[in-house]
């Protein structure tokens, strides 16, 4: 395509991608969760990391997460076009081609794993590669369109970053990062099912077998409560582990009580009540779920920061 046709008005200039469109392919909002949880995993680990190496590690873990986001957008372009929430993403909007997203995703996947291996260790790099594989192949390509348990198993991909952060520092895995994994893994289903309750048309239009579509909304409400109940002991176990402390325990107790109370509130409502007030309780539960996860990891970070001062920890 020549510039002359563009000047001429022969093409739609809205189709030309800007730099921001390539950044959007990396799902920056999801990346922020990856950065934060990986950072906590790295900082609470019992081995000190050089600050520059730690910074580099987090940067490339985030880039790996971004790469898997681009690959997810490449594969899911067809359903993204159908869903209102995702219709303006760079590929469905026509600003970036599917091939470009695939190339960017694969290129950044390789680069992030290679650089993480060079900066820290190859165990952490292999773990990052496995996480990208899990998110793209196991979740996006395999599970997302075939089973209503997609969110449950696929949630593991989002739960790996603190383990990778820990692996960057120690070169291995221990009980504490496994508990951090469990916290995010079990938090993901109620978080996304709450979203699915008030974004109902989107998933059914796209044919994604979300629990709300396959098993109904009443079953989804029950599932949310069951998962919050299973989640609570893991959150408390993490607070009682060597990386936790009294502050983490207090935060965990408060957040889990509030989370369970929110899930009970959702269970007690039916569709008529929810629709009448615009899914207020469901939306509030969804927003609180973000605070829930942030609160636990922030408490772990505070615990690690207080420890050298003689406070924090058990």
């Amino acid at each position: 395509m020549s510039d002359i046709t563009a000047i001429d008005g022969g093409i739609d200039t809205a189709q030309e991608a800007g730099f921001g469109d390539y950044v959007a392919l990396l799902k920056p909002r999801v990346m922020s969760l990856v950065v934060f949880t990986a950072l906590v995993g790295l900082l609470v680990a019992p081995v000190a990391v050089h600050p520059y190496l730690g910074f580099t590690a987090i940067l490339f873990i985030a880039l790996g997460g971004g790469a898997s986001g681009a690959l997810n957008m490449w594969y899911d372009a067809d359903i993204d076009r159908v869903m209102r929430r995702t219709a303006n993403r760079p590929i469905p909007a026509g600003r970036v081609s599917e091939g470009e997203a695939l190339g960017l995703g694969l290129g950044l996947s390789g680069l992030s794993c290679l650089m993480l291996g060079l900066a820290t260790n190859w165990f952490a790099a292999a773990f990052l590669a496995f996480t990208i594989f899990f998110y793209v192949v196991v979740y996006t390509i395999w599970l997302k369109r075939t089973t209503p348990q997609n969110i449950v198993i696929g949630g593991a991909a989002g739960a790996f970053p603190p383990m990778i952060g820990w692996a960057c520092a120690t070169g291995g895995i221990a009980l504490e990062p496994v508990l951090m994994f469990a916290l995010i893994f079990l938090w993901t289903p109620p978080h996304f099912w709450a979203l699915a309750l008030f974004m109902k048309d989107d998933y059914s239009r796209a044919g994604v077998p979300m629990l709300t579509v396959t098993h109904g909304r009443a079953a989804t409400r029950r599932h949310i409560l069951v998962y919050t109940l299973i989640l609570a002991p893991f959150a408390l176990a993490l607070a009682l582990s060597p990386v936790g402390g009294p502050l983490t325990l207090a935060v965990a107790v408060a957040l889990n009580l509030a989370f369970i109370a929110g899930a009970v509130r959702i269970l007690r409502r039916d569709e008529a009540v929810s629709a009448a007030d615009g899914y207020r309780a469901e939306k509030r539960f969804f927003r609180f779920s973000l605070l829930y996860l942030f609160g636990h990891f922030a408490a772990l970070l505070a615990e690690a920061a207080l420890r050298p001062l003689g406070f924090g920890g058990w």
Binding site: D3, I7, T13, G18, F19, V47, A48, Y52, T56, L59
Partner: protein, 65 residues
């Protein structure tokens, strides 16, 4: 239709090129920094440093964390 010297399309392309330039520049600086840190932490034989445990965690073996 009048031909404008600068079209909005060109601005967007320039932005994309500047963005990519900055990213590549930052990558070069990052790798240089990584090299400096890695090399300065090696001993005379070129071996990497032995990982140091965080003091509070080292206490773990003594019963306290």
């Amino acid at each position: 239709m009048a031909i404008r010297v600068e079209h909005e399309l060109h601005g967007r392309r320039r932005g994309r090129n500047h963005g990519l330039g900055l990213v590549l520049g930052a990558f070069v600086v990052l790798v240089f920094g990584l090299t400096v840190v890695k090399v300065s932490r090696q001993d005379e034989q070129g071996n990497p440093p032995v990982a140091a445990a965080v003091p509070a965690v080292a206490d773990q073996t003594g019963g306290g964390y």
